[in-house]
Symmetry: C2
Subunit: 355 residues, 2 copies
Amino acid sequence: MSAGAHRKQAKNSAFLDVCRRLPTSYTPVWLMRQAGRYLPQYRKVRRRYSFIEMCKTPELAAEVTLQPVDYLGVDAAILFADIMLPLEGMGVEFEFAEGEGPVISEPVKSLKDIRKLRVPEGGESAPYVMETIKIVRERLAGRAPLIGFSGAPFTLASYLIEGGHSRNFIATKRMIYNEPEAFRKLMGKLSDTLSNYLIAQVKAGAQALQVFDSWVGIISPLDYDKFVMPYSKRIFKKLKHLDVPVIHFGADTATLLERMREAGGDVISVDWRIPIDEAWRRIGYDRAIQGNLDPTILFAPIKIIKERVRDILKRAASRPGHIFNLGHGVLPQTPPDNVKAMVDMVHEISARGAE
Amino acid sequence: MSAGAHRKQAKNSAFLDVCRRLPTSYTPVWLMRQAGRYLPQYRKVRRRYSFIEMCKTPELAAEVTLQPVDYLGVDAAILFADIMLPLEGMGVEFEFAEGEGPVISEPVKSLKDIRKLRVPEGGESAPYVMETIKIVRERLAGRAPLIGFSGAPFTLASYLIEGGHSRNFIATKRMIYNEPEAFRKLMGKLSDTLSNYLIAQVKAGAQALQVFDSWVGIISPLDYDKFVMPYSKRIFKKLKHLDVPVIHFGADTATLLERMREAGGDVISVDWRIPIDEAWRRIGYDRAIQGNLDPTILFAPIKIIKERVRDILKRAASRPGHIFNLGHGVLPQTPPDNVKAMVDMVHEISARGAE
């Protein structure tokens, strides 16, 4: 019997239902970076265009957004874009260096630099993203819902201050401790820009949102309360009236889960460093949970992948509200066959369990 | 009144007493990488010799080991060495590339590579380290105890497999999942080599030991149980009869604390991602605790440093058994004055609190 035959629920509703902790006939699954370098069909497009060209050309962005929906059979599409994009509308110049990620030409150093940053209205920070959303919605034609996204203020602030990827985030923390008012001003501007950007995505057709606080795991709980919480909270509050579910993502945040919950989000996403049942207990059962397979497990033999998928499903099965996902993005070298096999497993095992 | 005047206990005993959870008249403090690049007197030596020359020349290694004892007034010296050193005795070739850390010429790829690794007896894996220990003990003349150290099997296995620093540890996890028996064999050989090496350090004069599992934080709790615990346990068991306190260090291990405790160590070291009182409660009060200031706080104004030092001391003050330390090593760009001020604060505030 095929995996599909097990499923009784329309793909378009399972993901959205589970975000609201409604019972579903199987566990929906999607993957961060499901549209990415590990997919040969993605690399085929990427060979002809730069990463930023792909982001800024709605036709191309829509094409790669849809690839994993068709190939993997995941339960949601996620917009192909980058968390850096809305910064351009704030007046920040950056480029994507091959293999290095974003590089900002003039990192933010002082209150003066921060004062110069604009807060774009609506979708004007990245209008092409709104166009991509419209095309994707049309082409999906109800096959799966579309998730929009943005970075969280802290993660984007750290990029702006460090100028790119960082190991110890010294410049960011130096600003936090030495110029807390400058840092707060930056967080405030980011928070407003990102709320506007996310609201515009929903208006364009995004049916759910994910806020990526990818680097917040380097912050101590004390600093989270003082320097992150108020600004993340502000975003989630503004998204509340939109009536789309919002996922709050963090990596390496096992000690921040209760705080992330307090900051907001209908779904909290957790990485592999904590068993998902323990994470859910700490977050509270009035929120849905997303996760938490280690992305490197996808390099393992199928037997091991199945063992781990089963373990997560078992730990999260006792109540509705679990979205299966990796703890972080699909790694570029991941074998695509294993990704596909994993998605099928989640569907099959969870449907059987639910019968 | 000077910080020193507050202290009533001999420097040589406070650190060792607190490892055994005996009451002390102040909280002892030392810092990981206290002998390092942030110190001008260290850089002066380093300009004339390569890092590996410094490690392998007992006179030089002893000189820089002593620098922070004299300059900072810390309560323990830690051997100047590198966790890679004993690998040479196993037959592994590596070098330290400027700014990149260790680079292994032929990373371990298969069971065949692992079979070729030797397990050196006693101190033969790095005899010059034993010589350094003897010189340092002599020159310390009881001013402060000397901590010896090694890497933990997992952290060294990951270097051997990845060939150097890594971001996602794909090669390591690929071996764990695809060739678990090869990985176990590697962990077993490392565990024996490292126990021999640590026992030799104690015979040479080390008065305490720290086992650095610096990268274990990338492992899920499930994998820790299966692939790390048995081998770390084996080391701590062998060190038990030596009658020197052993510190078990990990970074980014907030979800592994109970497991690290079970693996062993008289003292568990925790980073800044978890409040120290919460960490101690989870570890259990029958162990001492070390930590947990964020190393980047040392870039903050003195007022903020004092706030954070006070907070940690307050959280850990209710029982004997706290060694003040950073959550990870001193960062190279740290202002030395701030480090010194922080050490003084720990002494002063804790002595006052204890009066």
